[in-house]
């Protein structure tokens, strides 16, 4: 029995851990019964590093040393609009680090954003381990669907620094869809509207039985509830300044109190029609007189302020619809994820846009973590359920001896269902049945053409096409062929890369190598040749984005090919394979087509830590938390 694997939603504002086992999915709570771990890290004067709730409490009393919302900036180069905008607003100090990265300074020490996230992850892990009574170090961690290569790689680095073994980086909307499970044996098209603290994604999936296939995804990685909080806080500060000639924006602790009160007020307005944002002794006036804040705010006013921001989300929806070649009314279900979708205005706008009521039976703050836990279990269970899934395969595809139609094995899933508009969901908890315990061992089945076929259906046909040996393949009895039965296999996620991968050509242009919305893992090979005699080294700049202009896309860094074979120009031909793995991260390899030899390639990503740096930062964190490195 392997140890369980956590599903972790590493959020902008809050993080959540969940676990899936034979009893179903459950969110893990702290000793107070609270599932939300604030994604906040505070550097205490006594040298301790606090994370989660204890750090949250210090936001208003030690704003300059209390770091939050780093997810908005992780993986971004220091010189970009988003960092500039955040720097103006955050009370803590940002600066440029090595390789154009963003660093935070607190109490005289500089930290990378991956380290800050790692402190949060350690806290999540601590809460989860306490809840489960066992230390867990394996996890599936989620990221916004529209995160680019730099943001994904930085998140992976954060996990490594936190000492977590990450089985998969999963896209948040995909996780949300998985948590809902949906019907078996049907084709349903689902939209996930995911508006969190810092990011927005709209993902469209086709759910066919146990297969969750992403058709399109689009997003804005700098749009979320934080922006609404900031708008409210700015309004409050203006009013306070006008009334008392004191600008809270000039004082980090005061501004932080206003911002926190604004956020609380915003949340309250999801239930109430009108509230008063109040803070006692926000400042002191002439003669030391305490100045209190009393700012009445009506829901209608909050909605008026939020409307332009939310409008941006629907521009993104349009983009996703265009990619999927669909109209908003063609979706069978719409799912809400992310805390900001609690806002009644968001729900109204979603209802209007898709012309149907969105689903939110699972709490929008928890749904992503639950989905991550389901996927965590699916990955760790895949082996156990393989024998069962093989029973479903026929020999038609690769065996050649059977005349069945190719898709016979999926016959039960081929009926196109009319659009269902009911708000019910068939299986909220575990979308697949638990796999029975290990069956009795049987003699290994010989592989290869000369051996007699095992009784019953030829189970291994798919794997036999290529020599991929499954750890479990020899130890399972061939199950008897049966008709359609409840699916024993875990869900399969087919996700996509959100952004096109491009390479620099000439004059600042780039050419796309892998188009966005390609199912991952995927790869594309491009041929390159040298431009001068005896050229030994080449650099090519790579980027992600949809523009033909390199600069309008996110530049990722440089791919370098080393030690090329000396030859006349044009004589060396290199086949470069650009691959995107299941985490959505890049992998580049190259081959000299003349010699057939692998070519030494390095990929230098902007702002990223190398293995050595990750190891040293991990050691530093372990020291902070008083554990052995």
């Amino acid at each position: 029995m392997t140890s369980p694997v956590l599903g972790i939603d590493l959020g902008t504002t809050n993080s959540v851990a969940a676990i899936a086992d034979a009893d179903g999915v459950r969110v893990l709570r702290d000793v107070d019964g609270d599932p939300l771990v604030p994604s906040v890290v505070s550097f205490h004067p006594n040298g301790k590093v606090l994370a989660g709730k204890r750090a949250q409490q210090r936001r208003e009393i030690d704003a300059v040393n209390t770091v939050y919302s780093v997810k908005r900036l992780i993986g971004r180069p220091f010189r970009c609009d988003e960092v500039r905008e955040a720097d103006a607003r955050f009370p803590f100090e940002l600066s440029e680090g090595e390789n154009s990265s963003v660093m935070v300074t607190a109490r005289g020490q500089r930290y990378t954003l991956a380290e800050i996230s790692a402190f949060v992850l350690r806290e999540v892990r601590r809460v989860a381990s306490t809840a489960l009574g066992a230390d867990i170090n394996r996890a599936v961690v989620t990221v916004p669907a529209n995160f680019n290569e730099l943001q994904r790689t930085a998140t992976k680095s954060a996990c490594k620094i936190a000492g977590l073994d990450v089985l998969r980086i999963l896209n948040e909307p995909t996780a949300a869809a998985l948590a809902y499970g949906f019907g078996k044996g049907t084709h349903e098209r689902i939209a996930v509207f995911d508006l969190g603290g810092g990011t927005f994604d709209l993902t469209i999936l086709q759910v066919s039985g146990d297969v969750f296939e992403v058709l399109a995804t689009a997003g804005d990685t700098f749009l979320g509830g934080d922006d609404i909080d900031a708008k409210v806080a700015d309004r409050v500060c203006e009013a306070f300044l006008a009334e008392h000639r004191y600008d809270p924006k000039q004082h980090p602790d005061a501004y932080e109190r206003v911002r926190a009160a604004s956020e609380r007020g915003k949340c309250k307005l999801s239930d109430d029609e009108e509230i008063v944002i109040s803070l006692d002794e926000l400042a002191h006036g002439p003669g030391g007189k305490a100045l209190d804040l009393r700012f009445p705010l009506a829901r209608t006013e909050l909605e008026r302020m939020s409307l332009p921001l939310l409008g941006r989300a629907f521009d993104v929806c349009e983009d996703a619809m265009k990619i999927a070649g669909m109209r908003p009314t063609q979706l069978d279900k719409v799912v809400l994820a992310g805390g900001q979708t609690r806002m009644p205005l968001v729900r109204r706008m979603v209802t209007e846009y898709f012309e149907q009521e969105p689903l939110s039976n699972i709490e929008p703050e928890l749904v992503v973590a639950e989905g991550a836990a389901i996927q965590a279990r699916a990955i760790s269970d895949a082996k156990a359920s393989l024998a069962a899934q093989r029973a479903r395969q026929t020999t038609a595809r690769f065996g050649g001896a059977v005349d069945e139609p190719v898709a016979a094995s999926a016959g039960d899933a081929r009926v196109e269902r009319p659009a269902a508009r009911s708000g019910t969901i068939s299986s909220p908890a575990m979308p697949y049945a638990p796999v029975p315990a290990t069956p009795p061992p049987v003699p290994p089945v010989a592989r290869g053409a000369s051996s007699a076929p095992p009784p019953g259906p030829q189970l291994d046909q798919t794997m036999r096409m290529f020599d991929v040996e499954r750890a479990s393949s020899a130890s399972r009895p061939p199950p008897a062929k049966s008709g359609p039965s409840p699916s024993p296999r875990p869900p399969l996620l087919l996700d996509v890369t959100p952004l096109s991968l491009g390479i620099e050509t000439v004059d600042g242009y780039c050419e796309h190598v892998i188009a966005r919305n390609a199912t991952v893992p995927t790869e594309q090979v491009r041929m390159f040749t040298t431009a001068r005699d005896n050229q030994r080294l080449v650099h090519v700049r790579i980027c992600q984005g949809e523009s033909r202009r390199l600069r309008r896309n996110q530049e990722l860094g440089v791919v370098a090919l080393h030690d090329l074979r000396p030859a006349r120009r044009g004589q060396v031909q290199i086949a470069v394979t650009f691959a995107i793995d299941a985490d959505g991260t890049l992998d580049v390899s190259a081959k000299d087509t003349g010699t057939g030899k692998e070519q030494h390639v390095t990929v230098d990503l902007i702002g990223q830590l190398n293995d050595e740096q990750i190891a040293s930062r991990k050691a530093r964190q372990s020291a902070f938390s008083g554990e052995k490195p």
């Binding site: 089985l167 998969r168 297969v211 996927q375 699916a378 990955i379 760790s380 895949a382 082996k383 393989l386 899934q389 395969q393 038609a396 595809r397 690769f398 190719v406 898709a407 094995s409 999926a410 899933a413 798919t462 794997m463 036999r464 096409m465 290529f466 020599d467 991929v468 040996e469 499954r470 750890a471 296999r489 399969l492 996620l493 087919l494 390479i503 050509t505 190598v513 188009a515 390609a518 199912t519 991952v520 893992p521 995927t522 790869e523 594309q524 491009r526 041929m527 390159f528 040749t529 431009a531 001068r532 050229q535 080449v538 650099h539 090519v540 090919l561 120009r569 044009g570 793995d581 299941a582």
Partner: protein, 105 residues
Amino acid sequence: MKPEQLDTLSYYEILGVEPSAGFDEIRDAFHEFSYAYHPDYCHDDAAEQRDIAERVFRRGSEAYRVLTDPRARRLYDAQLANGELRFTRNVPPPSGKPDSWRPTH
């Protein structure tokens, strides 16, 4: 069969469908293919086996992408008629020649 032999198969052969297969058939075949080769289903395999499965999956994903895009599929079918099994470019380069890299300094 060795993964090297991927280069000897057409996209249709990799996914196990007839060249006349329609969209739904290709999609269903790709789903079955995914259950066999997707990394999430190979997690507990030995590293080497995982790598092989991922190489196979990447090619299948490439096949799926081309065969489910009507324009790309038409181009691919024309190419396949000339014996070219793999669609190596999204868009043919203007010159039809390989890219040349600028020398570095």
